[in-house]
Subunit: 404 residues, 2 copies
């Protein structure tokens, strides 16, 4: 407006509405450029119509640094007007948008909430190696690296280490990167993601792990509401109210989906992505819950360390947690008895000698235990109802994307 | 003792002294084996001579699981009586020793203290990729991996990403693994370690980074004293009192060491390990400080993103922090101006086009900024005065050790 402008000041957390007026400013508005780093002097004025309840009248400005080019993309509108591919190509600058920033402030809050819950429930935070001698999850989805004259791998999960650490601290957790060489390029897969892993000793059953996860998520949502209100509001996030999370057996869920939507079951060992979506739709309608635990996955589908169901060894004491149509957690009870673990490995034609250092924990005594892994980006994406997990990843890695 | 025994009960945090007596126990002491996982019923009795101020009389015991072999190594004595190599070979069980556990509880506390300080000082916690398109620190010490049909590397530091994120959140930090393909097999090197990285925008000078690090360490030590008293006592840790940390220029330090100990200067660009030790010895005598900042390292020795000293471009606005004889932090101010960064890269025969996505941050405006990286294991080892950084690493990685 003539002689009068709004200036947006981006700070650590807030984007502050400032007012420039020829009346009181001691500089020309043309001296300012987008993305300049400045020190301003001015007056803070209460202003109801501003999102923060105040605005700043700018009197003077000192320029600390300035960009060499104009922005190739608009970031000061509500949303960045770009395809996901452009959004990610220009990540260093598109992240400066208010809504993009809010996503990662909330992600910070999710981690902080989880950590607060776990530390106050006597879990010990650990740091385990990502360069490993053997894959924990098996299969082909593993990156290998040349480690001097040896062959090594990038950890698919901290599974072996967290089980070993149950023998040390009883309850442990780690929030750290994991690596999966998946060739899928979908809205739900990343080749590197942040895994929230926890492991609990002295379990009576795997249902206790689900109870702990339920409490952890419930308290984290409270933590978010208390500490990240402005970001939740900016992104219109509906934070679910959690009392209990419904539980359904995998087989029952498959049948329920099949009957409800008149769909043929094709994969008898896992959910298809569309089935995850449909199951959540049914559960939401029936119970109002945005979450559902599916339990008792087939033994053939679960790794060698998973405990089989005592009265039916074709099933396992395992679960997944689905959140608004997507699996966000895999967990279960583990085999703690040395001889039982050796037998299960041999039944799968695995060579226990290759896992000697891992099995040392079992050999010298491990309590009944189990745990889970939660994908931080998936969890963030579902909470914020983002259609692609990449939106909840600062710098995503997929088969086509290694940069920025 | 006849009809009477002490039983040590290892729990999440405490190792509890229990008493077995034929008088009241409803089982035979021979039913118990080391490393059994048990539920006990008994009576808690105040007992001044017990480290925790109480002991438990065991009435009944329920065995949940038991080891298949007797321990090959004694872990219930004060220290594990083994060489470092045996200690690490048997890590899954040697970590069950009380003193070994205390090391990693204190390490947890160091991270928690750092995080508390940083979050309350408006740093945003971030997660950046470890599979990267280019090394940040340069040199040969980088692991490469086959990333589908591309060549990629394991991150030597989150340097590029934390600088990019200064343009987003102004202050950021990350606590995550980094990877160095160093062939050195010394008491101070690891090939994978946990790096505490932070980066700060709107700096007036790099001395501000040192002030923030000083406050962070001071408050973390207070946090440890408040929350990890029993572990600090068990390991006889003397937690330094920090007021100010002395500062000395690199060149002056080299001369001081040379004069004090009548040593010839061989390496003019870096400290030899012995010189780090001697410098700390001098500073301790002169000032009582366990820490010392060395500043103004030579430009030739620092990476391309380091800001040169304005009145002497052969030097840099950089520092290291030495703690009880060992470098634990490297930091400094970075080049924030796009043209200045391009020039510095070209002077070093680097091709800026290969760093296009990193330089996008500079091109579209970055404030004056800088930061640091602190090695968590080194810091822990110096605080606890452990002679080898491996003692402060759960599962160390070195050129010879990939397992457990």
């Amino acid at each position: 407006m003539s002689g009068f402008s709004f200036v947006l000041l981006r700070t650590k957390r807030d984007i502050i509405q400032c007012v420039y007026s020829e009346e009181y400013a001691k500089f020309a508005i043309s001296d300012l450029k987008e993305n300049m780093c400045v020190v301003i002097s001015g007056e803070v004025i209460a202003e109801e119509r501003s999102p923060l309840g105040y605005e700043i009248r700018i009197f003077e400005v000192e320029v600390l640094s300035e960009p060499v080019e104009e922005m190739p993309i608009v970031i000061n509108k509500n949303n960045v007007p770009a395809s996901i591919s452009v959004l990610l190509d220009y990540r260093p600058i598109t992240l400066r948008n208010a809504k993009e920033r809010a996503i990662f402030k909330i992600q910070e809050g999710i981690c902080a909430g989880f950590r607060k819950y776990l530390l106050s429930n006597r879990f010990t935070e650990i740091h385990t190696p990502k360069i490993v001698f053997s894959g924990a999850e098996g299969g082909a989805n593993i990156f290998d690296i040349k480690y001097f004259d040896k062959k090594a791998y990038l950890a698919q999960s901290p599974q072996f280490y967290k089980q070993i650490m149950v023998g040390v601290f009883e309850r442990v957790f780690e929030i750290a990167p994991v690596f999966r060489a998946e060739k899928h390029n979908t809205a739900r897969h990343l080749n590197e993601y942040t895994s929230v892993d926890l492991e609990i000793g002295f379990l009576n059953s795997f249902y206790e792990i689900m109870e702990i996860e339920t409490s952890m998520i419930r308290e984290t949502f409270e933590y978010l509401k208390q500490n990240y209100e402005q970001e939740l509001e900016l992104l219109n996030v509906i934070v679910p109210e959690i009392t209990e999370i419904p539980v359904i057996r995998f087989n029952d869920a498959k049948e329920l989906i099949s009957k409800t939507y008149n769909r043929q079951i094709v994969d008898f060992e896992d959910f298809e992505p569309e089935e995850e979506r449909l199951l959540c739709e049914i559960i939401k309608k029936q119970t109002g819950s945005d979450f559902v635990f599916a339990t008792h996955y087939k033994s053939s589908k679960r790794p060698f360390y998973t405990m089989d169901t005592p009265d039916n060894p074709k099933l396992t004491e395992s679960f997944d947690l689905l959140f608004r149509g997507l699996e966000v957690t895999t967990g279960g009870q583990r085999v703690h008895d040395y001889n039982a673990q050796i037998k299960k490995m041999k039944d799968r034609n695995m060579d226990p000698e290759q896992y000697e250092s891992y099995l040392m924990a079992h050999k010298y005594g491990l309590p009944p235990h189990g745990g889970l892994g939660l994908g931080l980006e998936r969890f963030t994406a579902r909470l914020l109802e983002l259609p692609n997990v990449r939106y909840a990843t600062l710098f995503p890695r997929d088969i086509d994307r290694l940069e920025p």
